[in-house]
Point group: C2
Chain length 394, copies 2
């Protein structure tokens, strides 16, 4: 059995593998063990909600990748990866959450079986789901291996998107637009928040013509009024209120590809300070989009944004964006570039970011954001096409 519904062509997976192997050679790695679910999927197609147990992909210089995970999840690997069945390896169920044995003991034996007992092996020390105990177990059982921190090695290869990836993101963007359109209709004083979130999820998963909806890697965030000072609150059953701004941080998702998109809705008549902040933020966004062009650097976007905000007396300390694309919970960012003054990464055509200059102040908040694509020339393209403003429902 091989996957019958791979999201991408075999040549696209080969492209990704070539990039990864090239970087492995640069760093002198004999093997790379990839635990970040988004990296696993990007390299092999593996897709399933099984990242709550130890699993990963072994990348070798001269043989197909090996998917390694829990016994019962090998059935899912058989159905989703492009490699042949003999590249799917699994461990017994009594390794799962055991106090007596650890899945990484199984992996160690397999790495030794590959002749890697004294090799240079890369591990994602600070990606998701590679626990301190996992590394301790690996390094104590394979004490002759030279372990190399390969955090984000694969993530960096993902920075420039291929045409088929961008096509997926355009579909995801249509779903993002649909979510925001629904919110503009439904958010009103007295509507319980959870009822509105229920419709966000429904819109997101129903998707649009030609694009069924996948689950986004972050749930909707929608704090109101003074709570909008806190960027990562979720929701409860209380109603929206007149006099409050609520920001909505949402994303459509198509086959794990995201285009986050945030808008703020004010119910009633907004105070002057908020209107001034909105004007400065929009000016900053437009300056940032202009700066987001090939050859410029990540920091150029951040600096362009900061100037009109500072003139309006608004000081932001957080980064104002991050790369986006394929992702799994808990984050839809790629965890490589950060749009902030100290990041001098040069922008290239095909890079995609969530340009996300959220304002989270002492007792109010405002989010107006864009998912963007660095073009071959000129200012960035926005994936979504909706008015760039704070929406006011009087």
């Amino acid at each position: 059995m091989t996957a019958n519904d791979l999201p991408f062509s075999l040549s696209e997976y080969q492209r990704r593998l070539d990039l990864t192997r090239h970087e492995m050679t640069e760093r002198g790695l004999d093997a790379l063990f990839v635990t970040d679910p988004s990296n696993q999927a990007w390299l092999t197609g593996y897709d399933g909600w099984s990242f709550y147990v130890h699993q990963g992909v072994i990348i070798l210089p001269d043989a197909d990748p090996i998917w390694w995970g829990r016994n019962q999840d090998a059935n899912g690997a058989l159905r989703t990866v492009w490699m042949a069945e003999d590249r799917i390896w699994s461990y017994a169920d009594n390794y799962v959450q055991s106090t007596e044995r650890h899945p990484m003991q199984d992996l160690s034996a397999r790495l030794a079986g590959l002749g890697l007992e004294q090799a240079r092996i890369g591990v994602e020390m600070d990606n998701y789901y590679f626990s301190a105990k996992a590394f301790e177990t690996l390094s104590s059982t394979l004490s002759q291996v030279f372990w190399v921190d390969a955090t984000a090695l694969v993530n960096w290869q993902r920075a420039v998107k291929s045409a088929p990836e961008i096509a997926f993101m355009r579909k995801s963007a249509q779903i993002s637009e649909k979510i925001i359109d629904g919110l503009l209709e439904r958010v009103e004083p007295g509507a319980p928040k959870n009822e509105v979130v229920a419709e966000i999820f429904r819109d997101a998963i129903r998707g649009v013509e030609g694009a069924w909806g996948d689950y986004p890697a972050i749930v909707p965030l929608l704090p109101s009024g003074p709570d909008a000072a806190a960027p990562h609150l979720t929701w409860d059953g209380r109603p929206f209120e007149t006099g409050h701004a609520t920001f909505f941080e949402v994303s459509g998702c198509y086959r794990r590809y995201h285009t986050p998109f945030c808008r703020t809705i004010f119910l009633g008549t907004p105070p002057d300070f908020l209107l001034r902040a909105e004007a400065a933020l929009i000016e900053g966004l437009e300056a940032g989009l202009e700066a987001a062009r090939p050859g410029n650097r990540a920091c150029d976007i951040a600096n362009a944004l900061a100037e009109p905000l500072e003139r309006a007396g608004i000081e932001r300390s957080a980064r104002c964006g991050y790369p986006i694309g394929l992702s799994y919970p808990p984050d839809w960012g790629e965890r490589t570039i950060s749009l902030r003054p100290e990041d001098e990464t040069v922008l290239e055509p095909g890079m995609t970011f969530h340009f996300m200059p959220g304002l989270w102040m002492f007792d109010w908040g405002l989010e107006i954001t864009e998912s963007i694509l660095i073009r071959d020339e000129g200012a960035a393209e926005t994936f979504c096409n909706r008015p760039r403003k704070m929406f006011v429902k009087p």
Copy 2:
């Protein structure tokens, strides 16, 4: 500012802290650093989708817990934890996903400031979100600390639920029932899977009278036919088909408390082998519920289940359940007890489990499960109350 909508009373949080400190004393710990989001919430009330960056809670023997995280998330901590504002500590935004600095350098300095440079400090080596790099950074900057593996120390304190926790789970169970009721109505040949999942999410988040719906820690799982061999596949846009069994693994969630509930729906006329498996599974579930009583052991449930299955020629290798309650993605289990032959944990009143004997065979699958409560005496109570069978829609 203090949290204005704490899910539990201060005395409930004190009870949890007392249990945790007692275990810390038993293990000779001077401090405990808790990174698992479910443990953070259980101890402090902290609630927010910010676990994608390094954060945690410091538990001390003689002073209130300290929430520690990213600067912008301190605003969320202020709004959700029971401790006073001076127990909320945060690090600068340029520590986030930086290649130059690591948040654990900030934490190290703070632990040193607490006089813990030579202390015995517990860390959750194999819980979620405590990365290999996090531990490497902590241990290299605080080289005199004696680090103790405290994986699941807090999780074990959560095993026996308090009355208010059980009340939350009863609300969650009503939501689980509502989801399954909706599925029985909506699943039919030709209905696209994602459309049905959209309604699952809508039902889950709308909740029931008196209980708004929170996001479950795992998304709906619903593979059909031969794909039901794979327990953790999610969905796509293809339609349900006549002749296929589909299992639905779902959970309601109320204020982060879960009661997972799985049922299988067959469209058409089920084959004999599936009806025989269903009969054996139901007999096993009933035997397991009888065995799930105080004084018995976790393995007694597993062994009771296995007997009728073996008679029917069905061999399962996976564990058949795990504790449930408060959780965050990526898992709704508590990662302590496993219902399997080698686990001799004694069952106590107030323990709650997902009794989950999924059958994932070579080319078919069947799930009929119950979330259960160990009573003061007698067989377990099921949280949900729906027919225990494979539903057939001819």
